[in-house]
């Protein structure tokens, strides 16, 4: 069999694995209890890995914030010193079967959504959302108020969710995504419908909850007000779907994309855990206050583009026309963007149908060969983070071509000489 046939066969296997995945939310628990390799002195951030000195502002501020919240340091200066000495460890979420939105800050006490791919029995994790707001740890901001809210999430919301999710017998996230896309979500910058569908699954178990009434009411109030709560569930689901698709010989399909505010990285199925990186692009979009502009923004940041890696978000923009307001776009342009993404993907996902395109299936499975050949970079819907932390806008961004070119060269070095 020639190499082109081997690649096609491998990519078919990869897409069967991705499209056949069945992510189910099965638990909520502290990271130390469930995340593989989690340690009391370990703080996770959005990938890829980079040196402390080179990290962006939201990462540095968020990691120091988590160190203070966990009681690993008494001051920002002490946290900085302990990180430099290795007493406090840092690592990407992706290296621990996890994903994190924005700065992706996750520490031992963080309440995690536990998602199991019921086909392959692997699990993936993402922290529970802190809710709405411009100043959150996930945006690289920390203060006393944020610390108190995180503690409330760990001590109150986490246990309430844990009891309800366990009582539900598992919540099928693939089903929620399919319905939410019919209800105006693209499942990255807009997850209001997904969140509502998630809550619908949860209300029954919450009614039967044995939690004290005050804790239960406070938890329900928080969940109802957190429009984008379930983005993190979708992210964990995407990671759970993609993990079994890693390590397939000859496959040229992307299995992870992530950004650390400095570099953008991708992983490719046949190339395992290696990251191929290039400088992260600036996000174009709408700033939430007139005082903010492009000069204030950090480059592209966060693991949330795991959603685009399974063909959601920027790949299905016409599903959420309202999101076009961030980029002064139009439904026509959104449809053109999805047709463009189709050119770089290996398959169509008929479980994710776009109403505004006569229920066409979503493009899924980014093929590095097609990206390099066409010069079309994946399009990502995303937030805009201030370079010193804080959410300041939302919009869209392209993955840099450099990562795909590097990956293609690495693939060729590995397989063309055999």
């Amino acid at each position: 069999m020639d190499i082109k046939s081997k690649i096609e066969q491998a990519n078919q296997q990869t897409m069967d694995t991705i499209l056949g995945g069945r992510p189910v939310l099965i638990d909520v628990a502290p990271a130390l209890e469930v995340v593989p390799g989690m340690e009391p002195n370990l703080i996770l951030h959005s990938a890829p890995a980079n040196d402390w000195e080179d990290m962006c502002g939201p990462h540095k501020n968020g990691i120091i914030g988590a160190a203070l919240w966990e009681g690993l340091a008494d001051s920002p200066e002490q946290a900085d010193q302990k990180i430099r000495s290795g007493e406090i460890q840092v690592a990407p979420c992706h290296h621990h079967d996890s994903v994190g939105a924005g700065a992706g800050i996750t520490s031992a006490s963080t309440s995690m959504l536990v998602v199991e791919n019921s086909v392959h029995k692997n699990r993936a994790f993402c922290c529970i959302s802190e809710g709405g707001g411009l100043r959150l740890l996930k945006w690289g901001v920390y203060d006393e108020y944020i610390g108190k809210h995180l503690t409330w999430q760990t001590n109150v919301l986490g246990p309430v969710l844990q009891e309800a999710v366990r009582a539900s017998g598992g919540i099928d996230i693939k089903n929620i995504i399919a319905k939410a896309v019919q209800m105006g979500d693209e499942c990255h910058n807009r997850t209001i419908a997904s969140t509502s569908l998630f809550l619908r699954e949860l209300y029954g178990p919450l009614v039967d909850s044995k939690a004290d009434p005050a804790s239960l009411l406070a938890s329900v109030k928080f969940l109802v007000e957190a429009d984008q709560f379930f983005l993190h569930g979708i992210m964990a689901a995407a990671k759970a779907i993609l993990t079994p698709a890693k390590g397939i010989e000859y496959s040229t399909i992307v299995t992870a994309m992530a950004r650390n505010g400095v570099e953008f990285g991708i992983q490719v199925s046949s190339l395992g855990d290696q990251w191929f990186t290039a400088p992260a692009n600036d996000v174009e979009g709408l700033f939430f206050r007139s005082e903010w502009g492009y000069e204030d923004a950090a480059p592209d940041l966060g693991d949330s583009c795991i959603t685009e890696t399974i063909g959601l978000g920027g790949f299905i923009q016409p599903a959420a026309p309202t999101v076009q307001q961030y980029v002064q776009g139009s439904l026509k342009q959104a449809i053109a963007n999805t047709l463009e993404m189709t050119q770089i993907c290996a398959a169509i996902n008929n479980d994710v149908q776009i109403p505004a395109m006569d229920f066409a299936g979503a493009p899924v499975g980014i093929d590095i060969r097609k990206v390099v050949q066409t010069g079309i970079a994946p399009l990502i819907d995303t937030a805009i983070t201030h370079k010193q932390g804080g959410l300041i806008g939302a919009g869209q961004v392209r993955a840099p071509m450099g990562c795909f070119e590097k990956a293609l060269k690495a693939f060729s070095s590995l397989y063309l000489q055999r």
């Binding site: 190499i3 082109k4 690649i7 040229t252 060969r369 097609k370 390099v372 050949q373 066409t374 010069g375 071509m401 070119e405 293609l408 060269k409 693939f411 060729s412 063309l416």
Partner: protein, 57 residues
């Protein structure tokens, strides 16, 4: 030498432009009907990548 206007320019001009959008934009500004076809050389013209793609795709 024939100094008469080419027949092509005597009537309404309809243009299909392939590649550089600048030509489309310029003609559109002059109220000329243009259909733009997005196109660029494979691998943005990089000979090494084009050679690899020949083998892999």
């Amino acid at each position: 030498m024939n100094n008469t206007t080419n027949e092509l320019f005597a009537g309404e001009i309809k243009v299909i432009n392939i590649g550089l959008e600048l030509f489309t934009d310029t003609l559109t500004q002059q109220q000329v009907k243009v259909t733009h076809v997005q196109w660029e050389p494979p691998a943005q013209g990089d000979p090494e990548l084009m050679s690899l793609l020949d083998d892999l795709l």
